[in-house]
Amino acid sequence: MLYKVLDKGVYRDFVKALISEYEFIGPKKKDKSEHDFVLIKDISELDTNYMRTTIPPAKKILFPPNEQLVAYELGENINVRSVVESSKKILFGINAWDINGMNFLDEFFTTDFIDENYISKRKKLIVIGMDSEPTETNFSPSIGAEYAKDGFDIYLTELKNRYFVRIATPKGNEILEKYTKVNDAIAEDFKEYNKYMDNYRMKFKMSVDIKSFYDDFESIYDNGDFWKKIAKDCYSCGSCNLVCPTCFCFNVKDDIELNLKNGKKIREWDSCMIPEYGLVAGGHNFRPDKENRLKKRYRCKLKTFIDKFGKYACVGCGRCIEACLAKINIAEDINLVKKEVSI
């Protein structure tokens, strides 16, 4: 990691240069309370001072809701080929917890089998991070995701008259050298940066007691009444999955054109909360109850990947809490598990 500072006077020119040179994805104001990461053509569209994005930016680019995997032509011989689409992009202004969400997906899609469709996009993505204001439902400091250690090329932190710049990759360094001028960070910069981070961490209102969840979850696992109570209002709509930066479940379906010759395989996001999730041919459903599905979601988010990767599959962004129509709150539920067990 290299630590530099970027003067605010040259920041705009730096961003302008990137917009003109690259396919530049950044936050743009959508309505009063919401931003969306879209292709930015002019710096006037860019608004890094954002709080809320519904669809996680990295997932939107790297693991889109619909994606073609395979193309085939039917006939005497069947020709099948893989479809991998990727292009060089800059993802600008993504915050720390979304970077950590992307880090999880990076690890997931390269474990056991390598998912080229994901990773070829990832390899060509230049990530420039920036802090954003947390929403009231954000509990990422409890998970340790309010700060990004890696996964980005450059991370900009806004101080009084300059940006504190963390450079994690040679590519990030190259871009800075090419398009702007940065100076080495000195002790004073670090001091101000640390002060900034302390203040920044104070902005997070919600916290969860996750430390003992790993064991508490098992002890409460068979308590049917507890889970019934938690999932009582769930509509099984899957909103929580759609907005989650780490949810990766998908369906693969075949689609054939009207000429019955050209076809493709497409993957689209699935949701572990909908009743069809565990349904197999013949009509047996392995997960017929909504409380079972919610419990499974919590296990997947908060336990499974502690064993596999040593990290949570939750970054505490709080999107699922805001998206839930039934006001199911993962943060409250984590604390509730702790409370219930300690009685």
Partner: protein, 286 residues
Amino acid sequence: MGFEEKVKKNKNTIYVPDIARITRIEYLSPTEKVFKIVFDDEEIKNKFEFKPGQFVELTVFGLGEAPFSIVSNPTNKDFFKLCIRNVGNISSALHRMVEGTKIGIRGPFGNGYFPCQKMKNHNVLLIAGGLGIAPLMSLIRYILHYREDYKEIMVVYGAVNPGSILFKNEIQYWSNRGDISLCLSVDNPDNKWTGEIGVCTKLIPRVDFPSNDTYITVCGPPIMYRYVIDELEKKKFKPENIYLSLERRMECGVGKCNHCHIGDKLVCVDGPVFNLWEIRNLKEAL
């Protein structure tokens, strides 16, 4: 050649199937047929290797993909066979197909399979309910191929009615061989049936294999496992020697789509065959 190497070699992604042909369709029962499948590409054909208990993902082009376990003998290198019940979209399309139709195959998948090497020099008890005989067929055929490496072999097989007993010819052949014993029972007998009546669990108390020298494999409908395990435990068989093949919705086969999640494991990657000791740690598995 493992699946991953094959993917690398062909420069394909893990989601691209290899083209194969259905070369023969055998009728087993009104709802089940056996499909013999041969790869088009000579090299892929020669290098396709599987272990008993593994499965493949079969693509019906234009319709979709579904997992099926392999029923043929792993020592047959030229082809493999799938036993398919007509229950879903893909399987009903397959049942309408004629010999020579081209399909797509990915796999074989599953790092959990029946440990046929470990079972050598031990007794093997195979318990199947209904279509659960299919994944076990591959193992039975393998064991019979190397029969002298194993001690006593017994198959306990329960079916709904005499008409739904699968692989009747093969079963006939076993009784002629005399070196594999068979307990067959049906839930709903017809008036010609002279064998056992009831669920196959009832036959387990009669098994007289020593508990410390026996490997057991179980496959059947989800409801069957708990009762079978109860019976096996009464006989003091060791959980680490009991292997169960589990079914879940295995859509991708490569541990990505997550539908086959049980506890912290994925059936497609960690299974589909688990030993009972592992399953003890997986709530909801049974």
